[in-house]
């Protein structure tokens, strides 16, 4: 895998993971 591909995949995955984790955490802690 090229470095550029790793960077794009890593950034995209990190953004989605962060967003999902934020939402689920807020939902759970709000109960």
């Amino acid at each position: 895998m090229s470095v550029e591909a790793v960077v794009m995949m890593g950034l995209s995955w990190a953004a989605i993971f962060a967003l999902t984790a934020f939402c689920l955490t807020r939902l759970v802690t709000r109960r």
Binding site: M8, S12, I16
Partner: protein
């Protein structure tokens, strides 16, 4: 379901999973990776995330807010919601898009869904065993559809799986919002995640098979070609993908959110359902079909597969790929069940708007509304199944998914921003919110999103709809069928407009609350 005891989602997780289920469909696992592969690889994510922020999330929140407000006024389908929110009699005709578009898509979507059920059974029965070429698999699919001869040309099987698919869908809808849709989502969505993760792990751990490595497969999908960002079609494709993947413009999310309680946190719920969809798409969807195709077919042939479209990848390439792995029959079952679950959680969301319309505006019981919708769907399915080989289904798909959705979304934004009023709309969206929405989104919704949609509508009309309208590239033999498909769509639209007109001329069932700010003064006119 009565006016005094309105239907509601039973749990917080239920509505989120239901909306996420509506959004997660076949497109997450087939359309997204092919679009990314064709439009710049990793660079595609730049316009994709821009569209998510400027188009996707504002529209998602807009739909949740319209739905919750409509639900608090006792309305659950767009004709009634638009009328109740704006107080303008003509607005109910704009709302017809919210029952028409889901119905048209429902008809052919359940048919495609039945293929995934059939193929999952064929996988475990080993009916694909020995089919090593995509071309042979194409013949098998066509044989299954009754268009040619192949290993799956067994008379009646297609209809059997279609019958089972319809029965399951209508049973869920008949059970109601909480006992049907919510229960389905609570079972199907976790299963869907598990199946997708199993397949992703299987693909990412492939060693010593095929003509390329998994690393090369991921590189094929993610290596950015930033030069493509100068091409406007890449930005349009990314906006289109965001649009389809989040199920926007349909009215389905509006109907779903009309069943939440008036004080629920729709800002966070909307964001969560969108993030779950993105997880399914960018992380799971991108890690299965295209990387596996590169491993077994190589980069050049995978490009050809992607250019052939989603069905090429899902129904022709994937069965060939999966059966070359150990436990291939089982993996084929998992793949097609994954698509089936993704499909069924979406198709029930396409049914609920019409059932809600018939219940709210005609006073029909859920049973009667379900039977009525079944009759309409079955009648429309007949030409779809019989004339599929002449492009009857493709014609419906083109107009519904390319043009009507954008039109529906544009109308939603106009109603939200200009008819309901951005002040009232923003207040509705942020009431009860545990997250603070940046005010930037309010201005985005007010100015950027409508402009974005307008650009999409104009460019698609110019680039795709006009050539399509003049039947460019259509086989002369298929032209009468294509025209018939369009005429039937127009007849259905006219019938629904008539139904909306009739519904609001008859005495209205009592609503759970007042009819809304504008409507009370206009109520006498309406009735």
């Amino acid at each position: 379901m009565t006016a005094s005891t309105p239907e509601r989602w039973a749990t917080k997780a239920g509505v989120i999973l239901a909306v996420a289920g509506s959004a997660v469909g076949l497109g997450n696992f087939l359309r997204f990776p092919t679009q990314a592969a064709l439009y710049g690889g990793g660079a595609f994510m730049v316009p994709y995330f821009c569209a998510f922020l400027l188009l996707g999330m504002p529209l998602m929140w807009c739909e949740w807010a319209l739905g919750r407000r409509g639900g608090s006024l006792g309305r659950h389908s767009l004709p009634g919601i638009y009328l109740a929110l704006t107080g303008r009699r003509w607005a109910r005709y704009l709302g017809v898009l919210g029952i028409y578009i889901p119905f048209v898509i429902l008809v052919y979507y359940t048919y495609i869904q039945s293929w995934t059920l059939g193929f999952s059974v064929f996988s475990i029965l080993g009916r694909f065993r020995g089919v090593a070429e995509r071309e042979a698999m194409e013949a098998a699919l066509l044989g299954y559809l009754g268009i040619g001869e192949g290993p799956l040309s067994v008379p009646g099987w297609g209809l059997l799986f279609l019958g089972i698919t319809l029965a399951l869908n209508f049973w869920v809808i008949y059970r109601g919002v909480s006992a049907g849709i919510e229960r389905l989502s609570r079972i199907a969505m976790p299963l869907l995640f598990v199946m997708a993760i199993v397949l992703m792990v299987r693909v990412l751990t492939l060693r010593g098979v095929g003509v390329a490595t998994v690393g090369q497969g991921l590189d094929f999908l993610w290596r950015p070609d930033f030069g493509k960002l100068r091409d406007a079609s890449v930005w349009l494709a990314a906006a289109g993908q965001i649009f389809f993947t989040l199920s926007l413009g349909l009215g389905a999310i509006i109907t779903y959110s009309s069943y939440v309680r008036p004080d629920e946190d729709i800002a966070l719920k909307g964001l969560t359902s969108a993030s779950l969809n993105e997880f399914c798409e960018v992380i799971l969807g991108a890690s299965i079909a295209i990387p596996a195709a590169v491993v077994f077919f190589g980069a050049v042939e995978t490009t050809a597969i992607a250019q052939g479209g989603s069905f090429n990848l899902g129904f022709m390439a994937m069965p060939v790929i999966l059966q070359q792995m150990p436990l291939g029959g089982l993996l084929g079952l998992v793949w097609f069940l994954l698509l089936f679950f993704a499909g069924v959680t979406s198709s029930v969301s396409l049914m609920q708007p019409m059932v809600a319309f018939l219940h709210d505006e005609f006073g029909w019981s859920r049973r009667r509304a379900t039977v009525g919708l079944f009759g309409m769907t079955a009648a429309y399915l007949a030409p779809v199944v019989l004339l599929n080989k002449y492009g009857f289904l493709d014609e419906m798909d083109f107009w519904a998914c390319n043009m009507f959705l954008v039109l529906g979304a544009l109308v939603e934004v106009i109603v939200f921003v200009f008819l309901l009023g951005i002040e009232r709309g923003w207040e509705e969206l942020t009431r009860g919110a545990s997250i603070r929405l940046p005010v930037l989104f309010r201005y985005t919704l007010q100015y950027v999103t409508p402009l974005y949609l307008l650009i999409l509508l104009v460019s698609w009309t110019w680039q795709q709809a006009l050539p399509k309208l003049w039947l460019e590239g259509v086989d002369p033999v298929a032209r009468p069928v294509v025209i018939a498909s369009r005429l039937l769509m127009l007849v259905v639209l006219a019938a629904m407009l008539l139904a909306v007109r009739t519904a609001f001329r008859r005495p209205q069932p009592p609503t759970t609350h007042s009819l809304g700010p504008h409507l009370e003064e206009d109520e006498e006119h309406v009735r």
